[in-house]
């Protein structure tokens, strides 16, 4: 993220303009004053605008890492955190001996924490257009395998018995894994039914 130079009649006005343009908050800004405003003769001849240069203290990946490190410290959990920046997302991964509490039952804590991270990052960086994806001890990867296996075995049953079957409620990401796994499975079709957060995938004969 780069710096931004702005001018205004007062210092506050110039700083505010720069912060809005960068989409960051004052707490996360380094403000350099280039020109102090000054009143000219009679208040209008030779007035000089304030000029400031503003840049963020931490860029988004750094902020996310520090935020998670502090969170783990307050939770009393030992963990190693990495944040990788991709074109469309920030990947945060946590590894450690005792990080299971961060996953929770069926990944509920993991998903809720990921939700909070996405909102925190949007609040801190209004212009950030990247999703935050959080994983703990490769839970998402392992879950993907479990869901794919489940999809295959239910699909087999449905195509043998000819009755549709609904799976348990899942998050959009999890439902997507099922749909993709069965995309080209012969003789069956998949769709989602119900309202969030109880929306489920239904596997039906074609």
């Amino acid at each position: 993220m780069s710096e931004y130079e702005a001018t205004g009649r007062t210092l506050d006005e110039a700083v505010e303009k720069a912060l809005v343009s960068l989409g960051i908050k004052k707490e996360n800004a380094i403000i350099e004053i280039k020109d102090e405003p000054s009143q000219g003769l009679l208040g209008f001849i030779g007035n000089k605008n304030a000029r400031v240069c503003v840049k963020p203290v931490l860029d988004p990946p750094e902020y996310l890492k520090v935020y998670l490190e502090e969170l783990l410290r307050y939770m009393n959990i030992d963990g190693r955190i990495t944040v990788t920046e991709e074109a469309d997302k920030l990947d945060a991964a946590i590894f450690g001996q005792e990080v299971g509490a961060l996953i929770g039952r069926r990944g509920r804590t993991l998903n809720d924490l990921q939700y909070i991270l996405n909102i925190v990052m949007r609040r801190q960086y209004a212009l950030l257009n990247k999703m935050i994806v959080l994983d703990v001890e490769n839970y998402r990867l392992r879950r993907e395998k479990v869901l794919t296996n489940l999809a295959m075995s239910v699909a087999r049953q449905v195509s043998q018995e000819g009755y549709e079957q609904a799976l348990e409620p899942m998050t959009p990401q999890e439902r997507r894994i099922i749909h993709i796994a069965l995309q080209s499975y012969p003789g069956i079709t998949t769709y989602s039914a119900g309202e969030e957060p109880f929306r489920k995938v239904v596997i039906a004969p074609h």
Partner: protein
Amino acid sequence: MKQLLEHIAKALVDEPDHVEVRQVESERLIMLELRVAPEDMGKIIGKQGRIAKAIRTVVSAGAVKNDKRVVVEIVQ
């Protein structure tokens, strides 16, 4: 526990200086009262309470170790 909730709440609001958490502890229960600036209430609760629910999940996960139930109250 108090610090955990403060850490989460402060990053969500516009006025972090107005975030205040009071911790009341009994034998089996930790009660956390969260106060934020009135304008920030919506930012901490979210649509249909979704943010508040997520905060509760994460704070509860932080309490697993000390064997007590945690209740987060958002107070006006």
